[in-house]
């Protein structure tokens, strides 16, 4: 072996660079033939969730996500494969889903639409009522007969399996929103809140989004120097409008009779919220109707109250009068539902509930649209939101949206390709320039290799700490590598001068590093304040720059200097 080469590969500094490089590659964990489609989220109560497929937890690194490999032994290698397969499904079919983690057996469900006819039918409804008789609570079942419009169920093929998928990630690089598409919302609490409250807001927010069916989310607190508090929510591949509405809501739910509150949203008062088709959905009694140019649809779902809340209801209804309306007896005051101090709905309370502690009640509301279909979608979305809020409860403070941005996945992809293209072209440009200047391969080649290593290491560190790379991070990487090239030019010039003047190597390297460290410190201290600024929006930029500069000055520069020394020394 060439003695110089041998000296190089056994040098500690060079070995250290190689070691860090390997660590970075392990962190990125690239794979060039990733198969399958990764699971982004699993819909609540869908065939997939019934079969035991869970929403991925947000902290999971991209390459450890559960990936669907085959369905009914058909290989799934792209979104198209998945969609084609889904298209072919029929009702009550068994689907064998093989993922990277396990095998599941799914059963498709029928997609049922309820259509109303112009006839009415009698329906017997039974309700369980808790009654307080001389201090002991007794459950009693009450049945009553109602006249309701006749409905028929129309089956429209198979319901979706409930999986949202995306092409399996090929690396552990987490792409920021502007590179992969999605929605970013920056929220600000209406008043200052304590650290504990902030944590509560963040965990409720996460739960709310999870209950809503989104799992690829980031919720974190951010602040600025003037002490403003912000909450940054990033949701990959989400429908912006739905989410915006959900996030800005404090979710203060109250059910009042008169001026008194019977129960609030959240686990304390509400023990169960039905989200299955048998007790939630478009109200078969109210249904949809056309009013002029718009359609209105009513939804309803069952909930269970805690005994305390039921008791409150009993006390509040005890002294109400009975009134008769449409041949049915109701209590004189309705149960009014408020969401964030706005009325959502009024429910008449049946006469038989007077003074009784029922735990099972029905919540209803409505949606509107230009066509019946739109109205159904709108009311089901409203229902899902209300259910989410009832389950997760209110946030301790009202939040205001300060900014939102969203990028479509296609544009995100384009930005990413563009960034890569620019990176490669810039590096080539620098490469040409360096060759023109030095005309010596042993100066230029190590310089380019070092820059590439730095690129991999910055990305590796970002992957390891789970940092999402966005466009501002790309700018940071460019700066770090640019500074790296600058430093290497300094080292090259200082060491090449050796031909003219003869002073020792240590001295030359020392000289180069005096300049390099000066530049490093000034760059570093200029970047650090950015970490704490602007609600964290420029954090990506500052972080990648700092990682790149620090790694460069501590690890790659010394190695480059040693390479130069070894190659130049006679």
């Amino acid at each position: 072996m060439n003695p110089k080469l041998k000296k190089l590969v056994t040098n500690f500094r060079v070995l250290l660079v190689l070691f860090v490089l390997i660590l970075a590659i392990v962190a990125i964990n690239p794979s060039f033939n990733s198969k399958g489609v990764a699971i982004r989220s699993v819909d609540f109560n869908s065939s997939a969730s019934t079969a035991g497929i869970y929403n991925p937890s947000p902290g999971v690194s991209p390459r450890s996500r559960e990936v669907v490999l085959s369905m009914n032994n058909e290989e799934i290698n792209s979104l198209k494969d998945y969609n084609d397969f889904i298209q072919k499904l029929s009702i009550n079919q068994t689907v064998n889903v093989k993922t990277s983690k396990a095998s599941y057996i799914l059963r498709t469900k029928p997609n049922v639409e309820i259509k109303m006819l112009n006839e009415t039918e009698s329906k017997v409804i039974s309700e369980v009522i808790s009654e307080d008789i001389n201090g002991t609570i007794v459950n009693r079942t009450v049945t009553k007969t109602l006249k309701v419009p006749k409905t028929i169920e129309i089956v429209n093929g198979a319901e979706d399996l409930g999986l949202t998928v995306y092409p399996a990630p090929q690396t552990n690089i987490k792409k920021g929103l502007d590179l992969q598409g999605g929605t970013r919302v920056l929220l600000q609490p209406e008043q200052q809140i304590s650290k504990d409250d902030m944590e509560l807001v963040i965990s409720s927010m996460k739960e709310r989004l999870n209950v809503f069916g989104l799992s690829d989310i980031i919720v974190r607190s951010a602040g600025d120097l003037s002490g403003n508090q912000f909450i940054l929510v990033e949701i990959a591949g989400a429908n912006e409008d739905e989410v915006k509405e959900l996030l800005a809501r404090q979710g203060k739910f109250e059910a009042n009779i008169g001026n008194d509150t019977v129960f609030f949203g959240g686990k304390k008062d509400i023990t169960y919220v039905c989200r299955t088709a048998d007790c939630s959905g478009i109200d078969p009694r109210g249904g949809c109707n056309n009013q002029g140019s718009a359609w209105y649809c009513r939804f309803r779902f069952a909930i269970s109250l805690s005994p305390e809340a039921a008791e409150r209801q009993a006390q509040l209804t005890q002294n109400l009068d009975l009134i008769t309306q449409n041949n049915e007896q109701y209590l004189s005051k309705p149960l009014v539902l408020y969401l964030d101090d706005k009325e959502v709905d009024q429910l008449n309370i049946g006469a038989e509930l007077k003074g009784r502690a029922t735990t099972d009640i029905q919540i209803s509301g409505s949606g509107v649209g230009k066509t019946q279909e739109e109205a159904i979608t709108d009311s089901l979305t409203n229902m899902k939101r209300l259910q989410t809020i009832l389950i997760t409860g209110s946030l301790p403070v009202k939040l205001n949206i300060v900014s939102t941005d969203s990028v479509s996945p296609e544009l995100g992809e384009e930005f990413l390709r563009n960034s890569l293209f620019i990176g490669i072209l810039s590096l080539l440009g620098v490469c040409v320039l360096v060759f023109l200047r030095y005309r010596k391969w042993f100066v230029a080649i190590p310089m380019i290799i070092t820059s590439l290593i730095e690129l991999v290491v910055i990305i590796g560190v970002a992957s390891a700490i789970g940092w999402n790379l966005d466009i501002s991070s790309v700018a940071g990487i460019i700066i770090a590598i640019g500074t790296g090239v600058n430093d290497q030019i300094i080292i090259a010039d200082e060491t090449l001068k050796g031909a003219v003047e003869s002073y020792d190597w240590k001295r030359k390297i020392k000289n180069a590093f005096f300049i390099i460290f000066g530049a490093f410190f000034t760059n570093f201290v200029a970047m650090v304040p950015l970490l704490f600024a602007g609600a964290g929006l420029l954090k990506g930029f500052a972080i990648t720059t700092i990682i790149g500069l620090t790694f460069g000055v501590l690890i790659t520069r010394p190695a480059y200097a040693r390479v130069m020394e070894t190659l130049l020394k006679e």
Binding site: S226, S472, T522, L530
Partner: protein
């Protein structure tokens, strides 16, 4: 490395050595044709450094005047983009060229009180779509829908939902800017402190700091003249300039003050060789990014860094060199005065 030891090593070279500097090492590898011209240029650079100092001074004064003018006419030292002022920024990718004027007129008719700007963006030199910036309240859904409705009506292509919307509340823009300003001052002070600790001499440290200051002021003035509407990324770029512009100054000051080989002029010329190479590689990368970037945020960062790098050439190799030489000259005079006394 021991800072004190390096300081002890300093031997002040004699600026009168400009006589010697007629044969700078670095000029010796000239190709014969340009030799006399290059030498004349170096001679001029060597002897007329005081005269040359006028250039950065004029640039700084003009820049400050521009910024003062900007402030007096608009109440701001910069042109704020939507991300700093509050409003919406809508980016719509399109296949075919559209009539920007027509869309702008239609929008201005519907929203007469708002500040609306439309521009097209390109992808490798070809039309790729339009960006609309407007200071309307983007959190008001109805208003936004009617705004985008006007846009859709004036575009023949069906854009559907294929556009990017960026909404910034105005209070957020204002607090971000206040924030950025504080950060900028802190970053600048941190840099200044590091420079002082590094060189431990007043005039040379001030020269480095002044160069960074001139770079930033000049860049801001040019950005204003070009009508660049600054976004948060642009502000980040200015903070970046603080660190980036001192690289070459540190190289220069270190070589001139702390080395003893050759004459002062030799060391300045060798610094130029290294420093210009540094600036050139950065410029190449930045210009490539500027040409091919499709992200407005990235383009603006690159544009500001590019202007800054160009200013840095003047401010390092004329301004900083001039101040350093004046400093050394004075020091030398004092030394000879002392020895005569």
């Amino acid at each position: 490395m021991g800072m004190d030891k390096v300081n002890d090593d300093i031997v002040i070279d004699v600026p009168e050595a400009s006589g010697q500097g007629n044969e700078p090492v670095s000029a010796s590898n000239d190709r014969s044709g340009s030799k006399s011209f290059k030498r004349k240029l170096i001679d001029f650079y060597d002897k007329k450094y005081k005269l040359l100092l006028i250039i950065p001074i004029i640039l700084l004064v003009l820049s400050l005047l521009q910024i003062g003018y900007q402030y007096s006419t608009t109440g701001d030292i910069m042109i704020k983009g939507v991300s700093l002022k509050g409003g919406v920024s809508i980016r719509i990718p399109l296949q075919e060229q559209v009539n920007l004027k027509q869309i702008e007129d239609a929008l201005k008719e519907q929203f007469p009180k708002n500040d609306i700007a439309i521009r097209s963006f390109e992808k490798s030199g070809e039309f790729a779509g339009i960006t609309i910036d407007a200071d309307i309240d983007g959190t008001n859904n109805e208003l936004f829908e009617s705004f985008i409705g006007v846009v859709k009506k004036n575009i023949t292509e069906d854009i559907g939902d294929n556009y990017v919307v960026n909404i910034i509340g105005s209070s957020f823009g204002a607090s971000f800017l206040r924030e950025a300003f504080i950060i900028f001052i802190i970053s600048f002070l941190c840099m200044a402190i590091v420079v002082f600790i590094y060189f431990r001499k007043f005039a040379p440290s001030i020269a480095v700091i002044l160069a960074a200051f001139s770079d930033i002021v000049g860049t801001l003035a040019v950005a204003n003249l070009l009508g660049v509407k600054l976004s948060s990324g642009g502000i980040a770029a200015f903070i970046m300039l603080i660190g980036y512009s001192v690289d070459t100054d540190i190289l220069l000051s270190t070589r001139v003050l702390m080395r003893k080989e050759g004459t002062v002029m030799d060391r300045i010329l060798s610094s130029i060789e290294t420093g210009m190479m540094m600036t050139l590689t950065a410029l190449v990368a930045v210009i490539i990014a500027l040409i091919f970037s499709q992200s407005e945020a990235l383009s603006q960062i690159m544009l500001i860094v590019m202007i800054g790098l160009l200013f840095d050439i003047v401010n390092t190799w004329i301004q900083n060199v001039g101040i350093l030489r004046l400093y050394l000259e004075r020091k030398q005079r004092r030394k000879t005065d002392e020895s005569e006394a």
